[in-house]
Amino acid sequence: EAGVTQFPSHSVIEKGQTVTLRCDPISGHDNLYWYRRVMGKEIKFLLHFVKESKQDESGMPNNRFLAERTGGTYSTLKVQPAELEDSGVYFCASSQDAIQALHFGNGTRLTVT
């Protein structure tokens, strides 16, 4: 089975621009998560979807971040406008049940200059 795929793998944008990250979870996984690691820090939870519904978005840094999962399949995470502190690696993960093992994608490395 195909794993979790993320696109793009790298993105370099200027401060103030918009970037959209995409995640395709493992087929059949209702649970989709976004996590982020900023330089030197631990991986932190951003939000959790169950199908198309946001179950928990308590980890979203601010309203410049918008996540969607239309149709309960792939998800996008948009950052608008991007700030320098948004630089980091954004991971997407999916699981069949909420407490099961997370299957991570390879991440998108975002650099805001």
């Binding site: 631990e42 991986i43 939870f45 407490i99 991570f104």
Partner: protein, 110 residues
Amino acid sequence: TQLLEQSPQFLSIQEGENLTVYCNSSSVFSSLQWYRQEPGEGPVLLVTVVTGGEVKKLKRLTFQFGDARKDSSLHITAAQPGDTGLYLCAGAQWTYKYIFGTGTRLKVLA
């Protein structure tokens, strides 16, 4: 904010040596997972432990969950260069939201 502290942060050892990595918290977790991450990839699950005192073995890796479910350890016997990577623990508190540890970067020299 709950924090999972891992120690050591960095570890460089020779092939064939044994090592132990620790994951500690002041909080109780319902389950704890260990992941390994290699450069350019996402974390890959190694094991999940859910019962206090539980010990699980995966080939040369032995995982233990503390009796109070606040800490865990990962012991590698006869380390090999293929064990090189970033080891992460992650705990959940009766929910889906995993808190990740600070990570231990292991390098095994041939």
